[in-house]
Subunit: 155 residues, 2 copies
């Protein structure tokens, strides 16, 4: 069970919103991630980035997504029930993440239904939103997760 | 210009498909990525994973996405014209990625239009598909990218 008391599918109540904490991102980690996975000039080269489309270095969207995921694992999903994800809809990075930003993450249950084909689980859709220091939304997506239903104590 | 001759917006022809190379993934890198960003048991603990929903360790979907991105940067996007991405639609991980898998990535231009508000660029939508060693699709998404139009030589 996590700090929000979320443990099994039944706990993810439609419309509920959960604050999932925050994470800071510095220039060194932006460059290190991007050198490995997304080596575009505006992610890896501060000088080129300053003259580029964003007027400075910005984080790879995949780095932002990975940091958001960490907060969801720690504060929203539960190890005893999370069965992984089918994917996400409408993943967006509306504003850039820059060195020194702190991201706050919030999760809202927007759909919840029991699986017909696999009755041990439900399908939860979650609006995931990340905001940076100034309040601008830096990531938004609807995640689709499979989550075990509470075990029958009589089983 | 990359190996496919893609340099500016005009080069991304609707319906064209580009093979973007391959990348292998081992257990150590799966665990290292997931410990940092997605520490769920089936991503970080081989013993727990063997008894878990996938019968063994699988890669975080975000790790798969990051590896796919690397191949897109190297073989599809062009440093002189890529302005970043608004996001992706229908990101899916239909099958798990396991240690030792090799992922092949393919990109198909599914939509291409000149920006009305910013005439220096176009918006390219790309169906991105990754297949694992056995041919199973392990990731699929439609990426939305901003790409500079070819500079006017008379300008």
């Amino acid at each position: 069970m996590n700090d929000h008391g979320l443990s099994y599918f039944e706990d993810y109540a439609l419309g509920s919103t959960y604050e999932c904490g925050s994470v800071s991102i510095d220039q060194a980690s932006i460059i290190a991630f991007a050198k490995e996975f997304d080596p575009q000039p505006f992610h890896v080269d501060p000088v080129a980035a300053a003259a580029g489309p964003y007027g400075g270095l910005i984080a790879s969207g995949w780095h932002t997504a990975a940091l958001v995921m960490r907060l969801l694992v720690e504060n929203y999903l539960a190890a005893e029930s999370s069965l992984g994800s089918a994917g996400l809809d409408e993943l967006r990075w509306p504003n850039p993440v820059r060195p020194g930003d702190t991201l706050r993450v919030r999760a809202t249950v927007v759909e919840s239904r029991r699986s017909v084909s696999k009755p041990d689980r439900g399908i939860v859709k979650t609006l995931v939103e990340a905001a940076s220091t100034g309040g601008a939304t830096v990531m938004r997506a609807t995640a689709i997760n499979f989550i075990l239903v509470r075990p029958d104590p009589g089983a």
